[in-house]
Amino acid sequence: MGLLSREAWAQRLGAFRASPSAYMAAPEGEDLGRDLLSDLRSEKLSEQTKVSMLALSLEYPAQLWPDAPAAEAAATSLLDTLVLLPPRPSALRRPLLLAATTALVTGGVLGPTSGASLRLLPLLLGLASGGDLGRGFGPSSEQRPLQATACECLRELESCKPGLLGGSLGLLRGLLGQEGPVAPVQPLSLLLALALRNTLVIQARARASLQGLLTVRASPPGGGPWNWTLAQEGEAHLQPQAPSWPAAEEECGLSALEPSPEEARELRAAVAQLLDTSYLLTPVAQAQLLWLLGWALRGLRGQPPVLFKPQLVRLLGTAQLTLLHAVLALKAAFGEALFTAQDEALLLRRLTLAAQHPALPLPAHLFYLHCLLSFPENCPLGPVGEEAAPLLLEPQLCRGLLPNLLHDPMALLARLHLLCLLCAEDEQKEEKGQAQSPCHYLQELLAGLQQRAALTGGPRALATLCFQASYLVAHCLAGHHTVLAPLTHGLAQLYRARPALAPHFVDLLDRVAPELGEPLRVVLRQEVVSRPGGDEALRWHLQMLAKVADRDAQSATLGFLQAAAAHCTDWGLQQALLRVCRALLRAGGGGGLADLLQALARQLEDPDGRDHARLYYVLLSHLSGPKLGVALGPSLAAPALTSSLVAENQGFATALMVQEAPAPIRLSVGPRRAEGPVPVLQLQVEVLEPVYSLELRFRVEGQLYAPLGAVHVPCLCPGRPARPLLLPLQPRRPAPAQLDIRALYTKSTGLTCYTHLPPLPVKFADLFLPFPKAPEGARLGFFEELWDSCLPKGTESRLWCPLGPQGLEALVSRHLEPFVVVARPPTSYHIAIRLPPDSKLLLRLEAAQADGVPVVLRTDDWAVLPLVGDYLRGLSAAV
């Protein structure tokens, strides 16, 4: 795009500001950044237009030059423009410096590799030190404002890259101390304070000393390369910190810094120098200086905070928000070291006074009140981080801080909080029963709020205020019956006067359930059901009742509903009526409810309403209590539509369908039984949550075993010992297998669930069964007979079975005991194993040696040989 006129630029800037994202997304957005840079050098545009273009670049650099190379190029271009300005007064120098600084910071390019940074930094430092920069830097009249601007730019760079000016501390101190025509005090003071703070933090983290940084006056402007060492150390440290507040004590860690006596002296001198001239700073800048120096000195050894003391009296007298806030920060930072108990009391008084002084604006009052309740006490008693009245704040002092009906809502709530804190303390002391006790006053105030909220046609904000106050009181004074009882009563009266506030009541009941829920529910229910059904506020009554109806006093509720049913002529009212029925169903409705539902199923005009009533009736008559509760409970799935029907149906579906759920039990295979006609797996159960009507279904991959029967357990509870479950196996081949297990059960909530449990292995040895015991004396013969019967159909094999340190005897007794037919311990055993369905395995273990035993085995099923091999070899390892 070519050169634009003044009007075109004004229009373009206006369009951009209206919605930057939309503008940049459009085609004309693409060139904005480039055009802006080039047109800044145009001689046809006025300075005013250029200033507004630069103002845009100060606010939206990331949109104009979105990446690092673009930002670097923009900063370079801005610096070029600055240098090329003719040497007469110009309004552009200041904004150009600001814009170049902003572009470098937001583009993230500030650093030793950026050409623009290496140009800007010496330029700024040169300007800040008031040096003569030669041509291009215009008339001397501009020198002072540019000096200030350069300091501001450096401060911003230091803020974003802590440590950047660590090498210039000495220089800055020198400038500040200069006599005669001098640099502006405020920008230099703030710059020095920030650089000092950052240097101390970085050096403390690096556990380095100050290395004379405070005194070295090196790095003259323009001479020598910039020192990036500290900035690179500091870069990692621009991270979340709240170094001034006590909660962040550990993060500060300045105690790691151990300045030498000389360094400590220099540091003290620097701080004193800053504080001594602080009266020359504007109040907001004084406050910044105090925060920074407070940060800098806190926790630093050998730096007593008494340096601040001469400033305090002056500061305490002012009404300036920032100054008093800064004093509080010093209080938090240094505590008793700076504020004696008397000082603390005085500060507290000034704060109390400021929180109500008629000359100050409301936002300041509220902030001071917050400060009062978060006051950094020398000896705090209560829990940290919770608002509380400080110990020294006697009730007498708070008199002027208590709320009344004439206050603005925010002030009323803030002061009400204080009043509640006082009431809580007051009750702890003694029940006085005086008319002017805070509790009594609180009741009057609440009554007044309720009266205002009851005003028909009054703004909603008044009602909201009344409920906010009720909430606050219920929370702060939970358990204080003397306050909560009249509050409940007053709220009931409010409902009587203005049922249209039902949504507020429902909201309140939700929020104060633990503190006030039950009594409030009862009085509100009484309030509603004592009305005739045909009230014009019926829709509010029904909304209210849907919230407060429960098992108690159901006949009164049903009576009201019966009377109301005749007046529920439109769909909305019928739905509201049915919602109450639903609430009663959930609470466990009785016969009266069934009658009402049947009547509604006939009587309601709207077919949808009738259907619903019928459905509720069917549910009531067919489902047990808990199941009904779940069926009607809030749906777990977020309803996609706000229709009550959809939400409701999701509720039913959840209740009536089987849901997949995480496993409520854990199964494992127990010790082998090796008895009976078939192998039986013993399953150990670990119960994680209560389970009812549990059915376990097992399946084996392939057709290795005959289908397995299900196992049923009526009830399992965690903590109660569970008997092992027995699962008979009917192998079709003697082979190990994997059991796939599913569980179907009912939860304590009534939901039916199903779970896929982790599979369990059936090992080869789990199938072993013994042969019937032959009589003593005939055993060897019995064994030989079995041995011979294996051949020729079967096979014989020899194996080496390694023995562990325990020897053969232990191995046999541990694993093969039930199957031993003939034993000649410790060296020889004859073992016969029945492998269902109809195979056998015979082992001769003879002439055991120290590290193993030769095994001769015969079986009539050659397919088991590899399994036997694995089994025997695994025995010694399995010990």
């Binding site: 600084t101 907001v284 910044q288 928000l321 920032t322 917050h370 008199r399 925010m410 909603r460 949504p503």
Partner: protein
């Protein structure tokens, strides 16, 4: 200590958006820091449109409050300071400092130099008070001279340049924007001496100092056995010092006559260089005793160029200047009213004006009035349901005047007659408006001879005093009235 962004929004009830962004300024370098400091809890600054909508909703300034909305009306959403969390694009932008004054919403987002979850206490965030001060400063600048809208527009158009001076990178340098404006014009002056940042240049011309003391008296009178009447004086001392030199020193002493009421709760301007501890500790929250410090109250200071408030004080005078009662009773279709006012003998009986306004809220228009006044005239504003009793410049010799009469009202129509949420049923008040020149209720004065100026030339010293009523209520004693806690302590 920096601000991430600042906005001025004019509140325009009844328009589709409810308001317009009149000014906004973002600080991208501060935003860059916010991203690092806030970490995962960082929420970016929204564009003006979404911000406007969300802020007006949060401040309840949109017209749509007919239905209950949980996100706005829930009882657990309690704000106890002017600091809000705004829902923007599913996230919550916090902290947003905002308040409404004279139809303009002032808002800014202070930088929090740590993570936002859990939320740190406001007291621990240095930028909060800086944000307030910036907004107060802008407000003072816009309304420093209360004139017409065009001037407001001119001032709004000056704001971008002013903030470039006073807050170039989001860190506030001077909350006094007028001073920044001046510093642009004073820029060329060279300074041989250290120049305070709060003083843009030096004065050249005839030296003079003017001191004006304005006292406002407020009162709540009930005429009831069990409720105490209350009254309080709030004083403001304003100075304008036209003196040559960079740092002229001035000391002003405020004095009280022998029977004067001690000044309390004194707050001073930051230019005051030292304070007597007696001034610092005299406070209305302590019980009064005879030993209370009664001056002279010395304020040594180095004045800024512009007119400034040297100090504020309060005082508890022994009696209210005008004591009265108001009785109002509903009798069938009309109201019967009786008012009695008595000027205390110690008070200067020479008013610039004195009026009693008697409003009738939540009723229809006045259709008929019958009355008798012992002094002055009664004006009837039928549509506004208001009576104004014009008492004039002097009370009669007896110092006591009365009004009695009956008022009849027509049918109530909500649009025209005033609604009030305090004055329900019999609860009603009359409000006194008066002004007395060259007089203070405490007796406080600045003696010309007590003003010490350490500067070249002997300055001319002007002093002014006046007493103004403010929130001076007399409640109907025949019905309940809102009371303060102080009133209950008999």
């Amino acid at each position: 200590m920096a601000q991430r962004a600042v906005w001025l929004i004019s509140h325009e009830p009844g328009t589709p958006l409810g308001g317009t962004v009149r000014f906004s300024r973002r600080y991208p370098t501060v935003e860059k820091r916010a991203k690092v400091f806030n970490g995962t809890s960082y929420v970016p600054i929204p564009e003006d449109g979404p911000f406007l909508k969300s802020l007006l909703f949060e401040l309840r300034l949109l017209d749509e409050d007919r239905d209950f909305m949980e996100s706005r009306d829930s009882c657990s959403r309690i704000n106890k300071t002017s600091v809000y969390g705004l829902k923007v694009g599913g996230e919550e932008l916090w902290p947003v400092v905002a308040f409404l004054k004279n139809g303009i919403v002032y808002a800014c987002v202070p930088l929090v130099e740590q993570t936002l979850s859990p939320r740190p206490a406001l007291i621990s965030i240095s930028a909060i008070s800086q944000g307030f001060e910036l907004l107060f400063g802008i407000q003072d600048f816009l309304y420093s001279s209360q004139k017409i809208d065009t001037e407001l527009n001119t001032k709004l158009s000056q704001l971008p340049d002013l903030l470039l001076q006073a807050c170039p990178f989001g860190t506030l340098l001077d909350a006094n924007l007028q001073n920044s404006l001046d510093s642009i014009s004073f820029a060329s002056v060279t300074h041989p001496q250290k120049q305070p940042a709060w003083k843009a240049g030096t004065y050249k011309g005839k030296p003079q100092v003017s001191i004006s003391i304005t006292e406002k008296v407020k009162s709540m009178q009930y005429d009831k056995q069990d409720i105490a009447d209350t009254w309080q004086v709030v004083g403001t001392v304003t100075c304008k010092c036209d003196l040559e030199g960079i740092m002229p020193n001035v000391t002003i002493s405020l004095s009280l006559p022998t029977n004067g009421s001690p000044l309390q709760d004194i707050l001073v301007h930051p230019c005051v260089t030292s304070l007597d501890s007696a001034i610092l500790t005299s406070s209305s929250i302590d019980a009064m005793d005879d030993s209370a410090f009664s001056g002279p109250y010395k304020f040594p200071f180095t004045p800024p160029l512009e007119s400034f408030n040297l100090c504020y004080y309060t005082s508890q005078v022994p009696v209210p200047p005008i004591l009265g009662f108001y009785q109002m009773k509903e009798e069938e279709v009309q109201l019967k009213i009786t008012v009695n006012l008595k000027l205390h003998e110690s008070v200067k009986n020479n008013f610039e004006f004195c009026e009693a306004h008697i409003p009738f809220y939540n009723r229809g228009p006045i259709t008929h009035v019958e009355y008798k006044v012992s002094f002055g005239q009664l004006e009837v504003f039928r549509e506004k349901s208001l009576l104004i009793w014009i008492i004039g410049q002097k009370f009669p010799k007896s110092m006591e005047i009365s009004l009695s009469g009956t008022v009849t009202f027509g049918a109530k129509s909500h649009e025209k007659q005033p609604f009030d949420h305090i004055c329900i049923g019999g609860t009603a008040y009359l409000k006194l408006h008066f002004r007395i020149l060259d007089y203070t209720l405490t007796g406080c004065y600045a003696d010309q001879h007590s003003v010490q100026v350490f500067a070249s030339g002997k300055p001319k010293i002007n002093t002014h005093r006046k007493l103004i009523s403010s929130d001076y209520y007399i409640w109907n004693s025949k019905a309940p009235a809102p009371v303060t806690y102080g009133s209950l302590l008999l």
